[in-house]
């Protein structure tokens, strides 16, 4: 029995990576994401001014437009927009990634159980998922941010937002995971594993879940963008932590002076646009790469 020996990997990830590599917009998105991650990690150590620093005021540069010394200009308060934008990248990406990580874990767990177990468990879980799905997350964040403003001012503002996003934002993934689990649990390889002694948890988490990771990864990637945008909105509206650098906060600060100090709004705004664009493009690319229905 002769078989052509595969020289390249054949796992679902290897196959998906090769498909992804051919997708130009996905690669562009990936490049943008990598750029922002790099900036978020390295930036804060490299920029001239620490977060929320009014130093430029004392240097006499407050309110100046973009220049060689201040590439993105300076706010009226003395905050250097470039340093601030870079510092904010760190915080915004943290919110996006942390919230996504937690919501993905919760969503997969709840969704898998909802799709696998029958009867009361499944019905209850479905009800819970649906309930969380219809809740307007943004309004709740604004509400909680006010209610827990004490925490916000203690510097836990970001963590608060992450927690609220995580608590309310997992239902989308749960829905998808539930549907996929439903479909997969009747497949013969699950029956085969059961016939060889596997119990429910093993079947669910070792056999079924690895087969549903594709849509989960795509949604998670798009969620990162979504969560970052939510944070921007929250901070822009003034419900965020005034002591933590975020793009939303910058937009908030620059809002009143858009005509005169336009640089305070433009550059953070562009940062948000490109960051979200990057994750969206990458998410679309991943969707194409992981979607088994597309032919090579």
């Amino acid at each position: 029995m002769s078989e052509s020996r595969p020289k390249r990997g054949a796992s679902q990830w290897a196959v998906a990576w090769r498909r992804f590599r051919r997708n130009k917009s996905g690669l562009l998105g990936g490049a943008i994401v990598i750029f922002f991650v790099f900036v978020a990690l390295v930036g804060p150590f490299v920029v001239a001014y620490p977060a929320r620093s009014y130093l430029s005021l004392y240097e006499g540069d407050a309110g100046t437009p973009p220049s060689f010394k201040h590439p993105f200009g300076v706010e009226d308060s003395g905050i250097d927009v470039f340093s601030e934008t870079v510092n904010a990248a760190h915080n915004d990406l943290y919110v996006g990634l942390a919230a996504t990580l937690i919501t993905t874990l919760i969503g997969v767990l709840v969704g898998a159980c909802a799709g696998y177990f029958k009867g009361v468990v499944s019905d209850v879980l479905l009800g819970v998922i649906q309930m969380f799905f219809v809740i307007p997350v943004l309004l709740l964040i604004l509400l909680f941010a006010r209610v827990f403003s004490v925490l916000v001012f203690k510097g836990l503002g970001l963590t608060l937002i992450v927690l609220i996003l995580a608590f309310f934002g997992w239902s989308g993934i749960a829905f998808i995971v539930r549907g996929e689990t439903f479909r997969l649990k009747e497949m013969e390889f699950v029956q085969a594993a059961r016939s060889l002694g596997a119990g429910s948890y093993r079947l669910l988490f070792r056999h079924i879940v690895p087969n549903i990771l594709s849509p989960v990864i795509v949604i998670a990637t798009l969620n990162i963008a979504g969560f970052i945008l939510t944070e921007v909105v929250v901070s822009f509206l003034g419900f965020g932590d005034p002591n933590t650098s975020t793009w939303g906060l910058l937009l908030n600060e620059g809002f009143g002076y858009v005509r005169t100090s336009w640089w305070v709004s433009l550059f953070p705004g562009l940062a948000v646009v490109f960051c979200v664009l990057g994750f969206n493009l990458m998410g679309d690319g991943l969707s194409d790469a992981l979607n088994p229905r597309l032919r090579e």
């Binding site: 595969p6 390889f189 059961r194 060889l196 093993r202």
Partner: protein, 329 residues
Amino acid sequence: MPEKLLEVSNLRTYFFTEAGVVKALDGMSLEVNKGQAVGLVGESGSGKSVTAQSVLRIVPRPGRIVHGSIKFEGEDLLSKSDDDMRKLRGPKMAIVFQDPTTSLNPVFTVEKQLTDILMLHRDLTKEAASKRALSLLEHVGIQEPEKRLKAYPHELSGGMKQRIAIARALSCEPVLLFADEPTTNLDVTIQAQVLELLKQLQKELNMTMVMITHDMGIIADMTERVTVLYAGKVMEVADTPTLFHSPKHPYTEALLKAVPSVKQTRALEVIPGNIPNLIEPPSGCVFNPRCKYAKDICTKQEPPLEKVEEGHYVACHFWRELTLEGRAG
């Protein structure tokens, strides 16, 4: 004195669907002695696969065993908890499924297909399990097994996949193996190889095997004793040579006539009609609508399983009167 390994009595497995209650098995009995190769033959929908699922107690919802008894190694399986059954599945009994493309997990490498089960039931380290997986692959006749370990199912041919499925089923050395149409989805040339492999493994491991098939040719080749199943009921049970030479049930005769042979010159005789609706099976003998010998009583009274001679049983009102055509050789 042959030891009874599996004793299924009057098993009824029903599927409670929205369209009605499907009586997949309706009073089915089966006896398998240790070391025997037994055949379970019948058309699609006769309940063959459901039998294996019932013994392992993995009948999918909305199916349920509603009646009867299943004894394995003298123990009553129906009274066991699911935890206890899980300890039996793999180490004591296993199924090889029909389609290896769907019965293997698509995201597991060949190695993982085997080590997953090995590490579940045996206290092995990953390295020990990998070694055992390698030797299992050799055992089922896979060339250059080291190269295959990291391959994924979609990279392999049907025959290769089925060998791996067999290796997986045998990984914990079960005493009872159900082979559910293991070659139906394979090319004819590969079929012969896989059947040869199963025969060889059965002898080597002194395994008890239940060969589930609709192919009388496979029955003749692989089994010593055979049960003929139709619409969830037993039609005839006999030693394989006896069944072929002197069948006593019209359905068996029809099945034998439907197998083509190189020497024959007459047209292939098909069994008219289709398998009955299992929600509302025919009254009387369940085969009567398609039976060419059917008389009035056949539509009214269900024939009991009667003894023809030692080891040969048949469920037909007229087995004494009918002279049925068997096959020579």
